[in-house]
């Protein structure tokens, strides 16, 4: 292993220094000015809720995203804004990343995957060299593993793939590893293997390497981090040594500072009726009820919704009156017919339900669309213009109208407000409350806290399972955070 940093010329300058770095995606400000320094031997724990800007920050550090404003310098040398340049600097500085989504080539073997990031691999007998180095790295980090260098990655389990990816990231190459960015590296590892990784991280830092460690397991953060950085709404709000925090103060630090000024339009008149759905995973809902699915992104909420939805609708015969409708969050993938008009997109669901004849009843279709245009406030002059001519928020309204126009009593929503402006959100919240009062049931997965606060009952997900059920006044940001970050795991 090449963990020891032999060069000393850069010992005084920090490895990476960010000065007031901002990153904008269109109107969205993902980072609103982050300043940060990372020196050799430090292990930074990076925490924050969904959309706090964690992944944007690390992508700027590893050079994959160029900053919109501000400067970033590697080992004391300042650099330009071009992405290629930063990526190259990050590469020669020895910054390496392991992300949550696995980035191995499944069709290649373990040693062949090692060849991909190793750009100047010796040509002669490279298989022997690659095999030896990858196994050495695996043996050092995960002693006792059962992986062979010639195994094809697609035949490995998820945990083994994650182990291979970590081992490849730490393995020796032309530029030694100086800063390792680990984004939820333990999420697919069991406790014993995770323990090995944490121990290795400590060894790595003692030898002078630096680590940025992102995890939802606060116990792990407290275990390995020498400094904790808290991010919130695109800002670094706290940056202190680990010793200054305890679990409670860390959760408090992550919460929203700015409370939503306007009172939530809870209509207290709704009284939940009989139970209309329950699933094996423990999810259940009653008539008139708005049920929220909360927790950090990617912890099984979407899967829970999808499996419930597909179970109740996917019969090969199809059906005219489905019990459940779905509002997509990923509009482009799950929702829109991009080449169709607004009208056609809106009436898609109701065509089969109301249309009893072979031909489409144009008048009824027009009527329906005109009704909903007014009801939900779709801002357009012409319903026949293409759907993509609308703004994101209005596209989402069309999808809502499509679902609400049907007679289905249960509405499943997969984080539908992504990229929607505040005005539209308020409209839709009101609409949802109304529809619930009329007798509908909503299953609402959201990554935004103010939306979860709209719900009557909330299931918090962690690691693919429900970790808490909150009702009424218990639905607070603090309780949700506590349940979505592992608080009880046994850290050493």
């Amino acid at each position: 292993m090449n963990t020891a940093i032999s060069e000393t010329h850069a010992s005084t300058a920090p490895l990476v220094h960010l000065d007031a770095v901002q990153k904008h995606f269109g109107k969205l400000q993902a980072l609103k000015g982050a300043s940060l320094s990372i020196s050799a031997g430090e292990c930074l724990g990076l925490v924050g809720h969904n959309g706090a800007g964690k992944s944007t920050l690390v992508k700027i550090i590893n050079g994959r995203l160029p900053p919109t404003l501000g400067t970033i310098s590697y080992r004391g040398m300042s650099h330009s804004y071009t992405a290629d340049d930063n990526a190259e600097q990050a590469h020669t500085t020895g910054i390496r990343s392991v992300f949550q989504e696995l980035s191995l080539c499944p069709n290649l073997t373990v040693l062949e995957n090692y060849r991909v990031p190793f750009r100047d691999m010796p040509r002669r007998s490279w298989r022997r060299v690659a095999g030896a180095r990858v196994m050495q790295s695996l043996d050092t980090i995960f002693p006792g593993h059962a992986i062979q260098a010639r195994d094809t990655v697609e035949n490995l389990s998820i945990a083994e793939r994650q182990m291979v990816e970590i081992a490849i990231a730490f393995s020796s190459r032309t530029h030694p590893a100086r800063l390792m960015i680990l984004d939820e590296p333990t999420s697919s590892l069991d406790a014993a293997i995770a323990r090995q990784l944490l121990d290795y991280i400590k060894t790595f830092c003692r030898a002078g390497g630096s680590v940025i460690f992102i995890s939802h397991m606060l116990g792990e953060i407290f275990d390995v981090a020498s400094r904790i950085i808290v991010m919130k709404d695109g800002l670094i709000t706290d940056d202190r040594p680990t010793a200054d925090f305890n679990r409670q103060s860390l959760v408090d630090a992550m919460g929203h500072v700015i409370p939503e000024g306007e009172a939530v339009a809870q209509s207290g008149t709704r009284i939940p009726g009989e139970r209309v759905l329950s699933t094996d995973s423990g999810l259940n809902a009653r008539k008139h009820e708005i049920v929220g699915l909360a927790g950090l992104a990617g912890h099984g909420q979407t899967r829970a919704l999808a499996s419930f939805y597909l179970e109740s609708t996917s019969r090969w015969q199809g059906s005219r009156n489905s019990r459940v409708v779905f509002v997509a969050g990923d509009r482009a993938r799950d929702g829109l017919m991009p080449l169709w008009s607004i009208l056609q997109n809106l009436s898609l669901k109701t065509l089969i339900e109301f249309g009893t004849r072979f031909f489409i009843d144009r008048q009824q279709e027009q009527q329906l669309a005109a009704d909903w245009k007014q009801k939900i406030g779709i801002r357009t002059d012409d319903l026949d213009s293409p759907i993509l001519s609308l703004s994101g928020g209005n596209q989402q309204k069309v999808l809502f109208a499509r679902a609400l126009a049907s007679s289905a009593p249960i509405v499943v929503m997969d984080d539908p407000m992504r990229g929607v402006d505040v005005g539209t959100k308020k409209d839709v919240y009101a609409m949802i409350q109304q529809e619930a009062a009329k007798g509908r049931t909503f299953l609402w997965y959201s990554t935004e806290t103010d939306e979860i606060l709209e719900c009557d009952r909330v299931f918090v997900f962690r690691d693919g399972q429900i970790s808490a059920e909150l009702i009424g006044d218990d639905i607070t940001e603090e309780n949700i955070l506590t349940a979505s970050f592992g608080m009880k795991e046994n850290a050493a």
Partner: protein, 310 residues
Amino acid sequence: MNMSRDHFRILLPVLSLVVLLAGVFYLQPRAMSYFGLNLLFNLAVPVALATIAQMMIIMVNDIDLSIGTFVSFCACVTATFVQETPLLGYLILLMSIGAYAGIGALIHYRNLPAIVVTLGTSFVWGGLAILILPSPGGSSPEWLHAIMKSKPPLVPMAIIASVIIGVLTHLLIKRSSFGVLLRGVGGNDRTLSRAGWSVLKLKASAYGLAGLFGVLSGMALIGLTTSADANIALRYTLLSIAGVILGGGEFTGGRVSPIGAVIGALTLTLAASFLSFLKLSPDWQIGSQGAILILVLAARLAFAKREAQQ
């Protein structure tokens, strides 16, 4: 368990080749000779080369619908220009390899669907072939004819050539570190570009290699037939795709096997002879060839399913 799928992937084409060969020998014992084997597999050499060309494209998650007309075009060039004015002839072939690489780069750069682009270029190659040879004709360069018709001792030329093609491409694609990158493009091109590789260059290389093997296929074909025709290799488009899949390759994910592809090409050629020996009317032959293909692929699917359940 770990290796069984990979083993099965190469076992299946080998088994189907053996079964077909046994069938042919049973029907026509005289085929079991030096001369008989050469006759059976002679035409498999250009098919195997075209299959390797197709494999290069499938390896990077694309598909090439123009390989048949491209091989026809190369055959026409070989039978005319290479025959008459060798320098110009080889230059044209070299440029067509460059054109293939360029098409690959364009497909990646503009994010175009390969199936559409290559369908378009198939008409271009076909048109050029007709321009060069409006009516069947031309002749093979002497040396090419001599190689293809040579009779080495013990093992017929067709078998030796197939083994050489298989082993060389196996070394290039499966063993070399450059081959790893090429297959990596099919497996996860984002990872490659993150690691600082130019996917554009890699894709262009894969297409360029496909062009090279297409040229070799056209030349081998002319060495065998000695004269060309603008439609000489139209069947190769579908044969080559079938050969790659039969040989254990998959349409996506960079899962290809060069040795399997060569065996797949041999199997497909043999299937045609087998049906002739069965005295099946030629009207039914194409359909029966398809049926054999479906049978083999169904066996593979059944196995994959069983493994997934375990």
